[in-house]
Symmetry: C2
């Protein structure tokens, strides 16, 4: 059951925090995403609003929260948002409603007091919202699957269209936006297919523009989650860069990706709640002719009606010399599976999902040429370089390159909301002993 | 650097706890493995000794521990052994030395006091030592790889012989020995390859006899662990049953195994320390003609000399009707890669390993016919049933079947030590909604 649009989404609502009203801001009063930040050496939870962070511990001290809203705010006060994901959904909703009320432009009382809870984002360091309990990476764009197969005109394998294919990722190397990404060392064939195996710095370092979701607490061992209830397991969403070492990955991949993916995964710092995303829900993608029908355990009328999301995604590549180019423009609506289907699938065998689990959609590639969402697709595996105005070019990432993902949820009649940047800069490989 | 044999391994040493001296016991005084148990509603850490558990909180209360030994015992007192894995190796070693001293047969003082710390194992419920920080499953038996490929006479792919292939498993469904294993529901083709996709109870439920290791704290993000230091990351070992739903696995496996493995993984309850295993170390397997040489980052003289282990492993299948048969006899020495190589490989890309990580070797299949260590191998994918004396047969596991793994480390001139049982009984699939 998708969350309904309510007064917190009212496009007429403005904030007395003026930067939240600026056109194009990621954080209007309709967004109110949660994050963890460090300012003055104190790591705590906050809510983004315009160019500020609402400091939740300070807000509690001001005595302006009570009941469910207070309970949710307390769960978000520590150095990790994990406790927040375990509170009742109604409490998180109450906190959102209260924040929207306190900071709306027509609120008259207490502004000066509330101003004390506003930390300029420019003075804060954004942290990972929490260490994921587990990280599962799906592969749900048929456009990505087709292009990566090397035979784009052949339909994907039956399994890809029957279930949302996934693999378990590595949670310990999930990092916050801005953390440097060290080029991994590893084994690969040089040249590929030659049988000449080397160990050294990855020669084909790539990114993958993905969309992700943080899960609430889930099911007990042995007990699946129905597709009708899967939506409730989603707390909120983020952007994910699934950095990929293609040389390592293509060589090692007997039982799926391992070291080619596990060296780093960057997530955007804010968790944009499912409630904030309610206005941007659209129908789930249908099934075309010749494609397998949805099995009942992945089919739910509400999910079919509102399981998709209209979220525009971009990737910008900035070289170490400062040349910049937008290299991807795609949309979450390109995906073949919904987040609820991913959750229901993953729990269908009785594996427990846990509060703080992170799932990602896999590369959000679309049909269009500029919607290729990783370099392996964009450069057709290195045969079509990206050219920059300064006469440099790229087929894969160089040391010093910065890759930045952005996302914006868009719907007619509603104020767009964003996710903040998901960015990382490539550092040279460490010398091997 | 492998841990050296010392006085705690002395084969002449006996215990005043008589059951620890019985021939064939898994838990002579030379073993002293750590575990978590519940007795009287209080979950805490203990050490197996014969038919008893040394209750560590009680031992601390008796005031017989000090310094490093006390520090290690305190870290093992709670409901999880995770803190123990983070203490200094010297402290864990001091606790072992002290326990060996207190309970040896020629210790005269304090026996009646120490007896108060002995809980009969029959009155305790053994728990999972800790929730794994992460679970990584390797695939390091070339015999398993060859037989599962369907073309056993063809050498494994180059990657299998160049690196220890692995995939990330699911930590949330790792369970203690004795926990029931619910047959998972999932998607599979019926019959395989038919294109007829169904969702329902797994028709081909299998086990995999594996060996595992619990890791100490490891490396920082971006920093590998050298093969020379990888041994130090191993705290101790256990048995692992990587239950496998073959119908689900074979259908879903585009990016490796996922739901076909994540419904349950059973581990033996005791962590047999690397120190206890010191006498059983043997040379690592060499490389045969035509096989790739070890790359330097996986090659270490000490690991080559002592990276292997002589540990006999068995699997017994007991049907719901009570018919029983030993269906596997194999040995850890059949593996192509050492535990240290697995650790060094996994950290080679800079992914942080963490205290409480669980790694498993993959199916420990050997060359001999009776060393096939899963049903897919034993029954040649269902074409050669296992026949029981009561005229029943099996090609895969039925509901009500119990599968029990056991292990015994063996070396001439030393007392053998064991791991305790790793067992699970299959429960019927839950009805789908």
């Amino acid at each position: 059951m998708a969350i309904e649009v309510n007064a917190t989404h009212d496009p007429a609502r403005r904030s007395w925090v003026e930067s939240a009203n600026e056109p194009g801001t990621d954080f209007p009063i309709q967004n109110l995403p949660f994050g963890i930040f460090n300012a003055g050496g104190h790591v705590r939870g906050g809510v983004a609003l315009g160019a500020f962070i609402v400091d939740l511990p300070v807000l509690i001290d001001k005595g302006v929260l009570s009941d469910g809203a207070l309970n949710a705010a307390r769960a978000a006060c520590g150095p990790s948002l994990a406790p927040l994901l375990a509170v009742r959904a109604a409490d998180a909703g109450a906190l959102r409603e209260r924040l929207s009320h306190l900071f709306r432009a027509d609120a008259v009382a207490g502004r000066s007091e509330l101003s004390a809870a506003l930390v300029p984002m420019s003075e804060a360091e954004l942290r990972l919202p929490m260490k994921p309990a587990a990280f599962t990476d799906f592969c749900t764009s048929m456009h990505h699957i087709r292009r990566m197969s090397g035979t784009p005109d052949v339909p994907p394998r039956l399994a890809c269209m029957s279930l949302p294919v996934a693999y378990n990722g590595r949670a310990s190397s999930v990092v916050a936006s801005g953390a440097p990404v060290v080029r991994p060392n590893g084994q690969f064939e040089a040249p590929p297919g030659s049988g000449n195996v080397r160990f050294g710095p990855e020669p084909m370092l790539d990114f993958e523009l993905e969309f992700g979701a943080w899960l609430r607490g889930g099911n007990l061992l042995g007990e699946p989650i129905s597709i009708a209830r899967a939506q409730e397991q989603l707390f909120g969403c983020c952007l994910v860069n699934d950095w990929s070492a293609r040389g390592i990955q293509f060589f090692e991949m007997i039982l799926g990706p391992h070291l080619g993916k596990s060296f780093a995964t960057t997530v955007s710092p804010w968790i944009v709640t499912m409630e904030a995303l309610a206005p941007f829900r659209i129908p789930a993608p249908g099934r075309g002719e010749g494609e397998p029908a949805l099995l009942p355990h992945l089919s739910d009328p509400s999910d079919q009606a509102k399981g998709g999301m209209n979220i525009e995604l971009t990737a910008d590549l900035i070289t170490g010399r400062g040349a910049a180019q937008r290299i991807v423009r795609t949309n979450v609506n390109e995906l073949y599976w919904t987040l609820a289907q991913m959750v229901a699938h993953q729990a269908s065998n009785g594996a427990p999902l846990e509060a703080g689990d992170l799932i990602a959609t896999g590369t959000v590639s679309g049909r269009e040429e500029d919607a290729r969402a990783c370099l392996a697709e964009i450069t057709a595996r290195g045969t079509r370089p990206i050219n920059f105005p300064d006469n440099t070019s790229r087929v894969m990432l160089d040391d010093g390159d910065t890759l930045t993902l952005r996302g914006k949820a868009v719907a007619a009649g509603f104020v767009s909301i964003g996710f903040g940047e998901c960015t990382g800069t490539i550092e040279p490989a460490r010398r091997t002993a």
